[in-house]
Symmetry: C2
Subunit: 201 residues, 2 copies
């Protein structure tokens, strides 16, 4: 490749096939290898065979590479909730939303495990994860209100749904033998029903 | 008061009756009046009639004034859980812990409303609140495991318990006419049982 080619590639913003996916993989590789704190955007771009300029076309900073797609996940959850049958109970509608989340999150087992190891090792990233989950719960509660579920039931069903998502996702992620995430989530919802039914109230 | 008195007061660290409570009230007053960001530790101490040095004897920084006592709350929750009857179901044990939380949190309605207004207005404080709640959930899950509750039920009951605490506390806090917080929490737990029972699973 001549210098002209490089100039052309960088200067014209040539389309790179799956640049976003390559940057995400490169970032995670580097975070696992040398730690999140010690990795720079320039190094991530370099590992992906791209430029820092391309990096910033997709991500605001090196933290957001790990949270890319959480807006899509939230949108997916909320539209699945809206699409649940009108007669569905609040928790059944939440279960439909969790199925959509499982379809979205459940395809990348190895990636999820490696991503979690990076996040667990860094306080700032753990906080960011909590914020994203709180935002999911809040969007789910709003969606339930739009379905006519009153408060406090809407908030309660949403917070509970996200609790199930967290616990089931962690269980799925930490199992050596991968099960379908949707199955783990459904089992977790059933566990919750059993747990609450066994409460004297 | 002479300069000697002041020197004596500051230099010898004279005991101040309820210095911690006075600092907390002064801090909240100032945060409500002029905003969290624009308030300094010196101003808080001054409003409380104390010195900055006394402030730092009680709190690490101006943020922690708002979260003082969360370690006590966590300890209270965990020991209530440990003290629940051995035969209690996981959610009944969580209900006992929530009663303890209600006793601890439920006595300061006006304070809670004002504190929430300050926290809601600041992203850093909202994050801090999420972290404290995640820490409560994690401590509760550990306590359930010590009671012999296996995973994933321990994590699920704990996360669900904290979801109930959040929703019930917010409901209680936002009601103009104060009800006993323990009553709101029990009603919220009963709502949860109804919600999950109505799920097809």
């Amino acid at each position: 490749m001549s210098l002209d080619d490089v100039t052309y590639t960088r200067g014209m913003g040539r389309w790179e096939p799956d640049a976003s996916g390559r940057l995400r993989e490169a970032a995670l590789d580097l975070y696992v290898e040398r730690g999140y704190e010690r990795t720079t955007v320039a190094e991530i771009a370099d590992r992906a065979g791209l430029t820092a300029r391309t990096f910033f076309r997709y991500f605001a900073d090196k933290r957001e590479v790990l949270f890319a797609g959480s807006a899509d996940l939230q949108e997916g959850l909320v539209s699945a909730l809206a699409g649940a049958p009108a007669a569905a109970s609040p928790m059944d509608a939440v279960a439909v939303a969790l199925d959509a989340a499982a379809a979205w999150l459940g395809g990348r087992h190895a990636y999820s495990r490696r991503r979690y190891a990076v996040i667990a090792a860094n306080a700032e990233l753990r906080e960011r994860e909590l914020i994203k989950l709180a935002s999911l719960a809040s969007a789910l509660a709003d969606g339930l209100r739009r379905r006519g579920v009153p408060d406090p039931q809407a908030g309660l069903a949403a917070e509970t749904g996200i609790a199930v998502l967290r616990v089931a996702f962690a269980e799925w992620r930490d199992e050596a033998v991968e099960r379908p995430l949707a199955e783990v989530m459904r089992a977790s919802l059933a566990d919750l029903t059993t747990l609450t039914a066994a409460a004297a109230g």
